[in-house]
């Protein structure tokens, strides 16, 4: 039997009660199975080497959005960042860029939670619709209008990649704008008039300098950059041409 391969993980450690600033701690662990991902490595460290390493994770199948971190400087879901793609080089794992760090690899994402609520991510109707009338009719073509924007798992990779958010965290940001778009173009929704003021605000879509990094790093194929550009057009129609096309 060949000796188990080993891999070096450098992980950010930071405890606000004890540390002035974050530092990297190096762990060398067995790379015992080719199917191992960065999250497995962190779990090995926490379980068998150092129980104090803190990070979030749950589904380990790329859908809960908990385990986003910077892996060698790139925002990734650690549950599908495979060790084999890095070995034999060491891997550096850090908390997502552009967010305050609560501890170790755990970021503070309350800012996003407020922004999510601000864009009113629910179906807005002018009149309540009784359940007895049954479901709305919505064609597949109509769903295709918003489908990709509805795939957002709120993993925050796009905010970590966004240079504008990095400079100004008042910026509404890629995921929130994509989700606003998701409802604005849903045939069941009558709420764009309520969302567009937030989107057209000084910190809304116009902050975006169209770098497009958000769409590159999205693990779910969402194209927030597209949502932002489309929304710019919408807000123009509404505010530059205030008498045109109002609902």
């Amino acid at each position: 039997m060949t000796a188990t391969k080993r891999i070096t993980i450098k992980a950010t450690r930071f405890d606000p009660d004890k540390d002035e600033k974050p530092r990297l701690q190096t762990y060398e662990i067995p790379f015992s199975d080719d199917s191992m991902v960065v999250l497995d490595a962190l779990n090995y460290i926490k379980g068998h080497v150092d129980g104090s390493l803190s990070y979030r994770w749950s589904c380990r199948m790329g859908i809960c959005g908990s385990c986003g971190m910077m892996v060698d400087g790139v925002p990734k879901l650690t549950c599908n960042a495979f060790l084999r793609d890095y070995w034999p080089r060491p891997i550096t794992v850090e908390p997502l860029n552009n967010f305050p760090v609560i501890r170790d690899l755990v970021i503070d994402m309350d800012d996003f939670m407020h922004k999510l609520k601000a864009i009113k991510p629910w179906v807005i109707r002018k009149q309540p619709v009784p359940l007895g009338g049954g479901a709305f009719v919505q064609t597949t073509a109509q769903i295709d209008e918003f489908r990709q924007f509805s795939q957002c798992i709120n993993c925050m990779l796009c905010y970590a990649a966004c240079p504008v958010y990095g400079l100004n965290n008042e910026f509404l940001g890629p995921a929130a704008i994509a989700l606003a778009r998701r409802y604005n173009v849903d045939s069941r929704d009558e709420g764009p008039g309520q969302r567009l003021p937030v989107l057209a605000d000084a910190e809304g879509v116009w902050e975006c300098s169209f770098v497009g990094e958000c769409s590159v790093v999205c693990p779910k194929g969402v194209d927030p950059a597209k949502a932002i550009q489309q929304t710019k057009l919408d807000t123009t129609m509404r505010f530059v041409l205030p008498f045109g096309n109002r609902d």
């Binding site: 749950s58 859908i63 809960c64 009113k120 179906v123 479901a135 597949t140």
Partner: protein
């Protein structure tokens, strides 16, 4: 507003919990609602559900057929009054989800589409491609944001139910970010904490599925019901246990053994790939034992083959499966069969609750996977659980909202004393504990592997007896755990230790309940008692917590118009 005192408090932010919160808000808009989740709600494990939600939606379908399929699927252990109520409510809930924006997949005419599912005699599973749980969870979560009276406590970890004179007064929780312990009081509390899959090693369940609500209730004196009924899903990816949805077979996928044979013809000839999960998981296990499985680096497996469906159908109906294949296995399911094997998936058992979610404790309700309201019996049909979260989440919310008028708020004095005691227990027992030499992860892994071995697809008296003995040993080791992390801020080693305690309590209830049921029914298959025994065991197992271990009693199943019959497909 006092952020630690509510009319109704919901523990858990998955589909059942959020649905309950909205139901409370809509029943009585003046009520103050708290929602505690140990993660941000959109991380809840509902997010991983794939296939869809069952409801009578087409003209060719009927309540009676859905009820019969569910009851037969349950191997007659479901309570028939509960099933009858469920099938009537489920279609309304699917429409409600649609009005809230759920992107259900559609027919050509724009109506909500349904797909076939295991054990269902007709097409009745509404779906959002193969990310149904993800879309449903985000839909209810985002919708819940419009209710200002729903006050969330995200990343707050509940350690104990506050109970006085057999009445639930709320909970104690750790604010994970600060490490502070605090009490949250409520006139009514709804447990919606999900499943316990992490008591097993090979499971589809995420890291957070640790049976918290079941253990909280159990310790507080509320019994657990039918804990031996553990569902093994036929199609998990080897190594990770990632779920490959039953919808793959609903859409026409084949299960093939190493002879390239659709072996289910020998087990469920009339249903084939659309047989119920318990029977298919046993069929696969038998095929493995008889040498007709593939051998891989992570154990035996079968092929799940969708190549004949074509790329267009796969991309429209099963895009997430293609993504999972590509990202986690390195295959393209359009061109390659998917390796799968049975995997622990779902807990039919749970907190003993009635049709409205009420438990035997005043002021305490339960809904969703953590509850056992009597819907699923000995085997849940695929796609009934998302509907269950909606129907019984809403029912519990309404019942709690209606009950709070008759309940007084908790007084401050006993709460302060209870919080002090619980803080002492958590800090003294874990954080400030001296000595100890057992690592949490090692006890947890030993427990998980023991559960896989002793309480898997097939069980025996010897295996279960050995399991109970081992679990006693793990509980002794748990007393000697050591915690590396003494920090207060975001201490996930502390929460993992408390979760391990919850899981051990649940595992013990599973093992003892399984050992005592000397028959085979639904998911509970005893090699030493291969037949169903209605005379003795057409009953729910009720497990009460005692210091010496579970005390079991039995309660008659509520029958109705469907007489128990032999279950063949």
């Amino acid at each position: 507003m006092d952020p630690t005192s509510y009319d109704v408090l919901i523990i858990g932010g998955g589909l059942a919990g959020i649905r309950a919160a909205i139901a409370v808000a809509e029943t009585n808009p003046r009520l103050k609602i708290g929602m505690v989740s140990k993660v941000y709600p959109m991380r809840s494990h509902t997010v991983s559900a794939e296939g869809g939600a069952a409801a009578v939606l087409s003209k060719d379908d009927s309540y009676d057929t859905h009820a019969f399929d569910t009851i037969k699927g349950s191997d007659y252990l479901a309570d028939q009054d509960v099933v009858e109520a469920f099938v009537r409510e489920a279609p309304l809930e699917v429409v409600q989800m649609e009005h809230w924006g759920c992107p259900w997949s559609r027919n050509a005419d724009g109506t909500v589409a349904v797909r076939p599912f295991g054990g269902m005699t007709t097409w009745r599973t509404a779906f959002a491609a193969d990310k149904s749980g993800f879309h449903m969870l985000h839909t209810v979560f985002q919708t819940s944001l419009k209710y200002d009276q729903i006050h969330r406590h995200d990343e707050a970890f509940v350690t104990k139910l506050l109970v006085e004179n057999s009445r639930c007064l709320g909970v104690t929780a750790i604010d994970v970010r600060s490490g502070q312990m605090y009490a949250i009081t409520a006139k009514a509390t709804i447990l919606a904490t999900g499943g316990l899959g992490r008591i097993y090693a090979f499971t589809t369940n995420g890291n957070i599925c640790t049976g918290d609500g079941m253990a909280l209730a159990y310790r507080a004196g509320v019994p657990l019901k039918d804990m031996e009924m553990v569902q093994f899903h036929p199609t998990g990816l080897p190594f990770t246990g990632i779920l490959i949805t039953e919808a793959v077979r609903g859409e026409g996928g084949y299960l093939l053994n190493n002879q390239g044979e659709r072996f289910l013809k020998r087990y469920v000839p009339n249903k084939m790939e659309l047989g119920p999960r318990d029977i298919i998981s046993r069929a696969m296990t038998t095929e493995f034992e008889e040498g007709r499985g593939f051998e891989g680096p992570h154990g035996k497996y079968m092929h799940l083959d969708v190549r004949h469906l074509g790329e267009a159908t796969i991309d429209r109906r099963l895009p997430f499966m293609r993504e999972l294949g590509r990202e986690f296995v390195g295959i393209d399911i359009v061109k390659d069969p998917i390796p799968v094997r049975p995997v622990m998936h779902y807990m039919m058992g749970g907190v003993d609750a009635d049709i409205s979610g009420a438990t035997l404790m005043k002021g305490l309700y339960a809904a969703g996977e953590c509850a056992n309201v009597g819907l699923n019996g000995a085997n849940r049909l695929g796609s009934n659980s998302l509907s269950e979260c909606l129907v019984f989440g809403a029912a519990a919310g309404r019942a709690a909202a209606e009950q709070v008028g008759s309940l007084a708020a908790a007084g401050a004095n006993p709460i302060e004393a209870m919080l002090k005691d619980e803080t002492k227990r958590v800090e003294g027992g874990f954080l400030d504990k001296k000595g100890g030499d057992e690592r949490i992860a090692e006890i947890r892994e030993d427990m998980q592997h023991s559960m896989d071995e002793g309480a898997g697809v097939y069980r025996t008296k010897e295996g279960l007896t050995e399991l109970t003995r081992r679990l006693d040993g793990f509980r002794e080791r748990f007393e000697r755990i050591k915690i590396d992390d003494s920090s207060r801020v975001f201490n996930t080693e502390l929460t993992a230790a408390i979760e391990l305690g919850f899981m051990l309590d649940c595992a013990v209830a599973v093992a003892h309940s399984a050992l005592a049921r000397e028959e085979s029914r639904g998911a509970h298959a005893r090699r030493d008692f291969p037949e169903r025994n209605d005379e003795k065991y057409l009953k729910h197992t009720i497990a009460h917590h005692t210091e010496a271990g579970p005390r079991l009693e039995y309660r008659d199943v509520t029958l109705g118009k469907f007489e128990p019959k032999a279950r063949a497909y």
